[in-house]
């Protein structure tokens, strides 16, 4: 069976074979990840569609066209392809990896008790076996990465589980069979990627969030007044999002660092306004990018967003749709969120969070009045955006939303 680079998106024509996870001639099981391929934005894992012996024809680091055969799986079993037992001792290393790796009883127990996955650890024992030391080292590494946990390494002989001196088990009954209480599923490649990216955003930026709120009366009044007219003329409803896209562009123009990104030791200011719009899809959140938002009318913005939503529903989103935004808007309000801190989408430096509109008493001209209010949040990379700029940016958005006529007249 041939292994081909799959079509990953409408506008992706080539992909990089980033990493082979299996070796040439290795026995692989069905659905095991074989290799990672990368387009300029997305990394995908290719899984084995059948069990057999892998032969690799395109090496790591090569960029090839979509549809290229990069290897094959010989399903005729394994006998002739796999080395005879002991041909190269220890033969187990070769073929053994197709099965769960052999473990000593103490390693199996400790791994279970500490929730470690020996198959992800490079063993230092004979034939690549994972030893107790390897487990302890992995744990020490994990602790070093999260310094809030204590760092001391437990001695070998310590019991793996805290042993209660009294009948703890009676008050905390051992669940008879865990079956049904938990379900374990491997993460899909997309979910894994999301997890990696979100974690990277947290770890690799100096992310901070500032808040403000906007009185939505003016925008709502505009929408009510021009709703039918707009629909008739443009064939699309007038939503809230277009106002925020417009407002964001205004604010980005006034505060260029928010539209910039860090590249090595440089700050790259981007004089175009490609705004990512977070859309919730079945497999997770995706952020298609509205190109040149500064040159779009409200109707064009609404049409663009609506097209994205359709594409997400139909699973037709191309990777090109997702690439290269300069700023992102996410609307937690559609799910009813009142206040949240959005997370950056690196290398972007800013993300605007919209929220639910709520009638709230506010003081206006010395009087308490009820107004439709929305909290706004801006998460930003503090490395290149100062607090003053972030607060100013969000205030600019507030002003644009509270007095949209000015923004629209100017635009």
């Amino acid at each position: 069976m041939e292994i081909k680079i799959p079509a990953v998106g409408e506008s992706v024509f080539e992909a990089l074979v980033a990493k082979w996870l299996k070796n040439d001639g290795e026995l692989v099981r069905k659905d095991e990840p074989l290799c990672e391929i990368e387009t300029d934005k997305v990394t995908l894992e290719l899984n084995a569609e059948a069990a057999g012996v892998l032969s690799i024809s395109v090496q790591e680091g090569e960029t090839v066209k979509i549809g290229t055969v990069i290897g094959a799986i010989d399903e005729r079993g394994t006998a002739e392809a796999a080395p005879p037992p002991g041909a190269q001792p220890p033969a187990e290393v070769e073929a053994g990896q197709a099965q769960p790796p052999p473990l000593s009883p103490a390693v199996r127990k400790m791994a279970l008790e500490r929730g470690l996955h020996p198959e992800t650890i490079r063993g230092s024992g004979r034939g690549g076996r994972v030893t107790v030391d390897d487990l302890l080292n992995r744990e020490a590494e994990a602790r070093a990465e999260t310094p809030e946990k204590k760092l001391e390494k437990e001695p070998m002989g310590e019991p793996a589980v805290q042993q209660p001196s009294l009948f703890a088990a009676a008050t905390r009954p051992v669940p008879p069979q865990e079956e049904g209480r938990t379900t374990r599923k491997p993460m899909t490649p997309i979910r894994k990627r999301i997890a990696e990216r979100l974690l990277a955003a947290r770890q690799q930026t100096a992310m901070l969030t500032t808040f403000n709120e906007a009185d939505m009366s003016a925008v709502i009044a505009l929408r009510t007044r021009y709703k039918e007219h707009f629909q008739k003329r443009h064939g699309i409803g007038l939503g809230l999002m277009s106002f925020f896209v417009k407002a964001s562009v205004e604010a980005l123009k006034e505060f260029p660092p928010v539209n910039a990104r860090i590249d090595g030791d440089d700050i790259v200011y981007q004089n175009f306004y490609d705004i990512g719009i977070a859309v919730s899809g079945e497999k997770g959140l995706v952020v298609p990018v509205l190109r040149g938002a500064d040159r779009l009318h409200l109707a064009e913005i609404e049409k663009g967003i609506s097209a994205f939503v359709e594409k997400v529903k139909g699973n037709r989103l191309a990777i090109a749709d997702l690439e290269g935004g300069t700023f992102t808007i996410t609307n937690g309000g559609v799910f009813g969120s009142l206040l949240s801190t959005p997370i950056l989408n690196p290398p972007q430096s800013g993300v605007l969070g919209m929220h639910a509109i709520q009638d709230r008493p506010v003081a206006l001209g010395g009087e308490v009045v009820v107004r439709p209010m929305m909290y706004l949040a801006l998460s930003y990379d503090h490395r290149i955006i100062d607090g003053r700029e972030a607060v100013g940016f969000l205030k600019k958005i507030k002003e644009c939303i509270e007095a949209p006529e000015e923004m629209l007249l100017e635009g």
């Binding site: 037992p85 187990e92 053994g96 000593s104 793996a160 042993q163 009948f167 008879p176």
Partner: protein, 471 residues
Amino acid sequence: MPEETFDLIVIGAGPGGYVAAIRAAQLGLKVAVAERSERLGGVCLNEGCIPSKALLDSSELFALARDRFALHGIGIDPPKLDLARMMARKDDVVKKLTDGVAFLFKKNGITRFQGSARLGGKSGDDHRVEVRVGNGEPQILTAKRVLLATGSRAVEVPACPFDGETVVSARDALSFSSVPEHLLVVGGGYIGLELGSVWLRLGSKVTVVEMLPKILPNTDRQVADALMRSLKKQGMSFLLETEVTSLEKRDGKAHVRIKSGDKGEEIVCDRVLFAVGRRPLSADLGLEAAGIAPDGAGRIPVNDDFATAAPGIYAIGDLVHGPMLAHKAMTEGEVFAERLLGQASVVDYEFVPGIIYTWPEAASVGKSEEQLQAENIPYAAGRFNFLANGRARCMDETEGFVKVLAHKETGRVLGVHIIGPRASDMIAEAVTVMTYGGSAQDIAMTFHAHPTLSEAMKEAALDVEKRAIHA
């Protein structure tokens, strides 16, 4: 009498029960053990493994002195058997070991109750256990957890009930007061062959009757065949595909009618040992009232924690699934206690070794060749005969071989079968390697001291790839 409350009550002080009790006490529980017999250790220590091995070792020495010393250049008068003394030594071995268990109980603060125990319902959250001596008032113990470890007993053939004299179980065959002239052993399993060996060496004529066409049906065929050849050479006779149809006791002799196909025959012998299997002792434990239903074979269904259908009640050893072996019950006892306290211990049922203490001994772990063939697992077999092993030559114990069965592609060890001198000790290496998921190459690349019997294991592992040095 006031009720006594514990964290754990163990019913039965055999190898499963006493080990579970000690391990639970080590982990901090307040443990009680109820045992019917005044001696701890169960069948294994009192009337099974230990006394039978004591007699096997004694009778082996006797046979060596009689038959083999001359070959080594040791001239002696024909040795005389003092059976009473041999039995006394056996009893002394048993006593020392059972006293040892009692000492361990004391050391670990385990409370011991003598009497027959059964479940007696619940009081509040706690299970009640009634311990009764004779027909007296039962003593009531309570605990949140109860472990059933009552073991098993020899199956009795209804037509031929045990009488302790002429028709006997394995227990009685360990304490004959005289050497039977002719011992008939019904059942070609390991218990029958071991006890048959004891009396054969001490001078009995021994005939083994087996219903199936072969002895030791679950043992690797090459091993079972080699063992049968060896036992025949020693003078044991075998009647295969033969069953006992009736038994009559006359003039202190047993007249046993046997049938093989259409042919009938009568055998006259002094004693008949029935060793046709063992059955779990699950009948008198009050299981039904607790909501526990043993299967048709009397075994109690349990999950990985050894929990039965009744919350708080657990079972291990011969009462549950798996081979009825002391070391299996002991491991279950440890694992039970550790899991109760939240550890992730498991029993590696695939790697339970099985041993037959005849001479030569037979020992095995993992799958037999027949099993691998039936399961269509590709394998390669390596074999090495003790004939070519230096130490075996020195010992003049050259019978038998080591056989290593490894996966054809990965070399992973799937089964090891040994027949030969000290096979019981040699199998330990194979169990360790297999538990570590090791391969034949792992064995081959590991040092084996010279000259030792263990070199045969290394050579057999090399022979998996047909590169044994001394073959």
